[in-house]
């Protein structure tokens, strides 16, 4: 260790470092030795003192007025630096405002696009709905006006005695409709559900909910010799009809 330090001191790195003549690696080495070894630090401090003493021997009276020139240019430099910082701050603020507004606009654009998609979807749905309804109306019109249409009166029995419905079946157009005109009151937890037996399979036609629309025709799936049923089911409907609760059947 001592040898290494002595070797370093014998080399001229420290003297070169003193003058700022070292390469990057030499500077790092010098700084490492100065920090690590007190004797190197001591030598370095001594060299620095000697350099100052030596340089002082060459001191020369500075000319009159040079100080003022130097102070003036230093102040100018300071003002320029300050101005630069001021511009930098202004630029940063402008950039932040720009970034903020960009984000805001981008966000707004995104939500408008989403809204636009939603409105388009709604319009499409509405169009589809209207087309379906129009189709339905046309079919109803065909069924009701066609001479081949047969009309069946449906009367309920048991609890559904007061149930009155009329089914319209057109074998030519293969369309059938039912108009439920009167529905007896049921306990709150019960409801009427319609079914159709088509080709031996029972198809759920849904719960009869709203009897305010008394003149509305409900479409029934058409099949040869199909049978329609109305049953009383628990509220919300059932997946298969409860046979003992059949209150009406319609053969068509």
């Amino acid at each position: 260790m001592k040898e290494k330090v002595q070797q370093f001191l014998d080399s001229d790195i420290l003297e070169k470092y003193l003058l700022g003549d070292t390469s990057k690696e030499e500077s790092l080495k010098a700084e490492r030795y100065i920090t690590m070894y007190p004797e190197v630090r001591e030598t370095y401090d001594q060299l620095q003192d000697n350099l100052e003493a030596f340089a002082k021997m060459y001191a020369r009276k500075t000319p009159e007025g040079l100080k003022e020139i130097i102070l003036h240019s230093a102040r100018k430099e300071k003002v320029a630096t300050k101005r630069f910082y001021r511009y930098a701050v202004a630029a940063s603020i402008a950039l932040m405002v720009f970034a903020g507004s960009s984000y805001f606009l981008w966000n707004q654009n995104k939500s408008l696009q989403q809204e636009n998609t939603m409105v388009t979807n709604q319009m499409n749905n509405l169009q589809q709905n209207m087309q379906n309804q129009l189709e339905d109306m046309r079919n109803q019109f065909i069924v009701l006006n066609n001479p081949a249409t047969r009309k069946y009166a449906v009367n309920g029995k048991r609890e559904g005695k007061e149930l009155k419905a009329i089914a319209y079946v057109n074998p030519v157009k293969k369309l059938s409709y039912i108009n439920v005109s009167n529905v007896p009151d049921l306990p709150e937890n019960k409801c009427f559900q319609m079914w159709a037996e088509v080709n031996g399979e029972l198809v759920n036609l849904g719960v009869i909910k709203n009897f305010d629309e008394k003149d509305k025709l409900l479409a029934l799936p058409y099949a040869e010799n199909a049978i329609g049923y109305i049953t009383i089911e628990s509220e919300g409907g059932n997946t298969s009809p409860t046979v003992k609760n059949i209150v009406a059947n319609i053969s068509y």
């Binding site: 001229d12 003297e15 003193l18 003058l19 700022g20 003549d21 700084e31 401090d45 001594q46 060299l47 620095q48 003192d49 000697n50 350099l51 100052e52 003493a53 030596f54 340089a55 002082k56 021997m57 060459y58 001191a59 020369r60 009276k61 500075t62 000319p63 040079l66 100080k67 020139i69 130097i70 102070l71 240019s73 230093a74 102040r75 430099e77 300071k78 630096t81």
Partner: protein, 188 residues
């Protein structure tokens, strides 16, 4: 080499207080001007160099690290390198070669002698010329040791040893002048 004033200047520099420049000029201006003059040997050029160096010092104030160098060492490096760069650019322009004028060693700064510098002038004369030549070549001419060896026609090993011994001698001279000063104070 007042550490207190040094510390004060350093803290002013760190705060970018322009009082620092004023203080630096008062305490180191003459020495740094002397360094610049010694390198270029021209009054006008030396003034330009001093001005340029002070602007550099002012701009680089935040890079100064007291743990790496004393304030004067840092100031000296900046001034010396600015002067050497200037000298090189001037010599390139005039296509003149930088040469060591050996005779200059004996009439150092004659034009610049002022009574207040007499004591340091005496100290300077105490340094043996063989060391002084090497120190000046390395410190003020910006020569590498190899270049100094070639220019002065001295073996490289001798350049190295004269640099070391020369720097040590400086310490002795400085040390004795301090001791003398203390003796004078004590005796009076």
């Amino acid at each position: 080499m007042s550490t207190l004033i040094e510390r004060h200047i350093v803290s002013l520099l760190a705060e970018k207080d322009d009082k620092a420049i004023s203080l630096l000029y008062e305490h180191y201006g003459d020495t740094l001007y002397g360094v610049a003059y010694k390198v270029v040997r021209d009054e006008d050029l030396a003034q330009d160099i001093l001005q340029e160096s002070f602007i550099k010092i002012w701009k680089k104030a935040d890079t100064y690290d007291p743990s790496k160098a004393k304030l004067f060492t840092w100031l000296f490096r900046i001034t010396r390198n600015t002067a050497i760069d200037k000298l090189r650019s001037v010599s390139n322009k005039s296509d003149k070669e930088v040469q060591i004028d050996v005779s200059d060693v004996y009439n150092l700064g004659v034009s610049g002698i002022r009574p207040e510098f007499m004591d340091v002038q005496e100290n300077l004369d105490k340094i043996e010329p063989k060391y002084k030549i090497v120190l000046e070549a390395l410190f003020f001419e910006g020569m590498t040791q190899q270049e100094a060896s070639e220019e002065l026609d001295i073996p490289l090993g001798t350049v190295k040893s004269r640099l070391k011994i020369g720097l040590r001698e400086l310490g002795k001279i400085y040390g004795t002048s301090i001791t003398q000063l203390l003796l004078i104070i004590l005796l009076s």
